[in-house]
């Protein structure tokens, strides 16, 4: 245990170091400076020619958003259509897997388009190898590039000069793929193959076990999908059991590669912000807040899981290794709980242990982490949430001391404030409203059979599903019978709104700020680059964000915790 803590501390320190280097590298890529991948230049020019665009054509934020919307529309139609007819696609179809019904196909397409990866199907029996590679992994790359591009465009619009040009979407997307996600995925996939993760297009094999039972072994092109699943904050695993599956994550070495892939780009993006804007102190402040909240959410999950499940304790057996239902022995309780903490604050949302079986109070911290979505957050998108909190905090702080709100030399006006506050109110409204609807339906028809766990835990299951959908996280309390018309359609709507509102909103705010005149800093403004403001920002996040989920959490994990221990 002590050694595990030393190991994890070393690992996180190393991750931060790599993130700083990667952040600088991303800065060079998007400023157009030379990098070690410049030999890709001719290939990229060929790509622009094939796409038929001029990568240097300026775009306003509206044009950028429109081009992005069109692309995402095309991807949605493609993915939805392919999943409907996956059984007739002649290549990479290993096991006579049937077509998806339209509601599941719609849910799956939206789920991967929005980087959520909720997965109401099961990887082994629900999708062909072609769908895994040509639809789902395709969307994992595409949605990750979307998040990174918008993140970069917003950062670009925080520069001091006055302009209407937030950058060119096609250039941002192509560079995201060729310079960031593809090279890192190649490295990650090759490393994973060496740890024993399969990469094959053969059909499932059947063996006879030592006790004489027939066992069918699902396999496939797993290693290709894993890096982008984590790097892009996607989270959709190859198998039903996600990263807990021993073929996705066979040992401690693969665990570290996978976890590094989850952490790297969300952390690096904050370093990129500081580097690109030449505002290192701002990046340090944001990084500190994010790390602080990440630890504040993860440490309680770890201690709760190590303490074990009191209901199991009362059966009189040894829980020396912590609460082990839904966890794997090769990771143990500590590493499973740390993985959980990382994957709720970063919306990759992958599982090495089943969140449904975690102890009650852990569920509270999972909900908080997912819903705030900014403690590193997703690649690109985590900063977008932080940007919204920045705007709100700047407005509140400036009003409190009677100054004009300014962010990095640009006046924050009423429209910017309206957009930011509408988004931060709309998202809780979305998941709380949807949960309310689900509870109403469930209570009207208790025989609907959604919930495999009764009581408070059942309520948490439904709340979790919608919070996860709205935040683009994609993890779930998998005890939910979620491949049903209600859950497929309702979460599809929540995922779409939960993705594109917080993507387009910050882009609009950035576009508005970029058009304004730069005002050099004076004593009359509240500087964003100060620890005092950092403290205010941290308070605003917890007050505005956490309070919106607390009443609902009281009915779910807190109530379950209290009844387990004290009543």
């Amino acid at each position: 245990m002590r050694f595990d803590l030393i190991g994890l501390t070393l690992f996180f320190t190393a991750s931060m170091g790599l993130a700083i280097l990667t952040g600088r590298y991303i800065g060079r890529v998007f400023r157009g400076n030379s990098t070690w991948l410049d030999w890709l230049g001719p290939l990229e020019r060929q790509l622009y020619r094939l796409i038929g665009v001029d990568p240097n054509e300026p775009m306003t934020w509206q044009q950028y958003a429109l081009a992005l919307g069109t692309l995402n529309g095309v991807w949605l139609v493609y993915a939805f259509g392919m999943l409907l007819v996956q059984s007739v696609i002649p290549v990479w179809n290993q096991q006579q897997i049937p077509d998806m019904d339209w509601m599941l196909a719609l849910n799956t397409a939206i789920s991967f388009l929005t980087s959520t990866n909720l997965q109401h199907y099961s990887g082994e029996s629900g999708v062909t190898y072609f769908s895994q590679m040509g639809v789902l992994m395709f969307l994992q790359f595409a949605s990750a590039a979307t998040s990174l591009s918008v993140g970069v465009a917003v950062v670009r619009s925080l520069q001091p000069h006055t302009s209407r040009n937030v950058g060119n979407l096609y250039q941002d997307l192509v560079l995201s793929i060729t310079r960031v996600f593809m090279p890192l995925s190649l490295i990650g996939a090759i490393a994973l193959v060496l740890t024993g993760v399969p990469m094959t297009f053969s059909s499932y094999s059947v063996i006879e076990t030592m006790e004489g039972v027939s066992q069918t072994i699902a396999s496939g092109p797993v290693a290709a999908m894993l890096p982008i699943k984590h790097l892009g904050s996607n989270g959709g695993g190859f198998f039903g059991a996600n990263t807990a599956h021993p073929l996705e994550n066979p040992n401690a070495f693969s665990y570290l590669i996978n976890l590094l892939n989850v952490l790297l780009l969300p952390m690096a993006f904050i370093c990129f912000v500081g580097d690109f804007l030449n505002r290192r102190k701002l990046a340090v402040i944001l990084f500190t807040i994010m790390t602080g909240y990440f630890l504040a959410l993860t440490i309680p999950i770890v201690t709760e899981e190590l303490r074990g499940n009191p209901a199991i304790q009362s059966l009189g057996i040894s829980q020396a290794s912590g609460s082990l239902e839904g966890k794997e022995m090769r990771f143990g309780t500590l590493a499973s709980a740390v993985w959980c903490g990382v994957n709720v604050v970063i919306p990759a949302g992958t599982l090495t242990g089943m969140h449904d079986s975690f102890t009650p109070l852990s569920g509270l911290f999972m909900l908080l982490g997912m819903q705030l979505d900014a403690f590193y957050g997703g690649v690109g998108s985590g900063f977008l949430y932080m940007f919204l909190y920045l705007i709100i905090a700047m407005f509140i702080g400036s009003l409190m001391i009677g100054r004009t709100p300014e962010l990095l030399g640009k006046k924050v006006g009423i429209p910017e404030m309206q957009i930011a506050s509408v988004i931060l109110v709309a998202l809780p409204l979305l998941y709380l409203g949807a949960t309310g609807l689900a509870v109403a339906i469930h209570n009207g028809h208790p025989d609907v059979g959604w919930l495999s766990n009764p009581g408070y835990h059942g309520f948490t299951t439904m709340l979790y599903e919608f919070v996860s959908s709205a935040a683009g996280n994609g993890s779930g309390f998998e005890g939910l019978g979620d491949n049903t018309p209600f859950w497929n359609l309702s979460t599809a709507v929540v995922m779409l709104l939960g993705r594109f509102i917080p993507l387009i909103g910050p882009l609009a705010i950035g576009g508005l700020l970029l058009q304004k005149q730069y005002v050099p800093p004076t004593v009359g403004v509240l500087p964003a680059e100060s620890w005092t403001f950092g403290l205010l920002l941290a308070a605003v996040i917890i007050i505005s964000g956490a309070l919106s989920i607390f009443p609902a959490a009281t009915l779910g994990p807190i109530a379950e915790y209290l009844t387990q221990y004290h009543f």
């Binding site: 595990d4 793929i177 193959v193 094959t200 396999s219 092109p221 239902e325 839904g326």
Partner: protein, 187 residues
């Protein structure tokens, strides 16, 4: 919108070729050079494949080290955990029944010594490992059934205990399949 439609479709096609065809084929090519050739490492007895090293299989007979309970009965084409909540009464009854069964098969074991992993299901339903403690508690039973000295079995567990990576990452584990293969070869 129409101005953006043509680049959108063309970009999608280019991206599809790049990430969904070229990239996986490159990785599959590299995997051919890796141990196991990208198909996963198998375990064989006398040339007959009896399992995958990284995938658990069901061991419930008294003469073998039993594996952990599995929510999907070690179905390697349908991995899943139980997803039972920590306070679910039906779940707690299941665990109670597993404890009772274990005590029947392992007379002399104290209830307080049973490690939780032997009566709880893993996340994947395919957990290939036990802790050394969970293997050790089965030694008396296997020694009796197989008429082997207990210290020989304890030694076998020691030989098959995998240490944490660099001594820093993860708990000590025993691969149940490999342990049982070795157990069958003891004479």
């Amino acid at each position: 919108m129409s101005k953006h439609l043509s680049p959108a479709i063309r970009l999608s096609l280019v991206l599809l070729v790049l990430v969904s065809v070229i990239y996986p084929l490159v990785i599959a090519g590299v995997a051919k050079l890796a141990p196991g050739g990208g198909d996963g490492e198998t375990v064989s007895i006398n040339g007959k494949v009896v399992g995958y090293a990284n995938l658990g299989q069901s061991f419930t007979e008294d003469r073998y080290f039993n594996s952990r309970p599995s929510a999907v009965d070690y179905n390697a084409a349908g991995s899943a955990g139980s997803n039972k909540g920590p306070s679910n009464p039906d779940y707690l009854k299941t665990v109670q029944a597993r404890i009772d069964t274990f005590l029947v098969h392992n007379p002399g074991v104290r209830r307080a010594d049973i490690p939780a992993e032997l009566v709880t299901a893993s996340g994947s339903g395919l957990d290939p490992h036990l802790s050394p403690a969970a293997a050790a508690i089965q030694v008396a039973r296997i020694a009796r059934v197989r008429k082997l000295p207990a210290n020989r079995l304890t030694q076998l567990i020691g030989e098959h205990t995998e240490k944490p990576l660099l001594g820093l990452f993860g708990p000590e584990t025993v691969n149940v399949l490999k342990l049982n293969v070795a157990l069958d070869q003891l004479r």
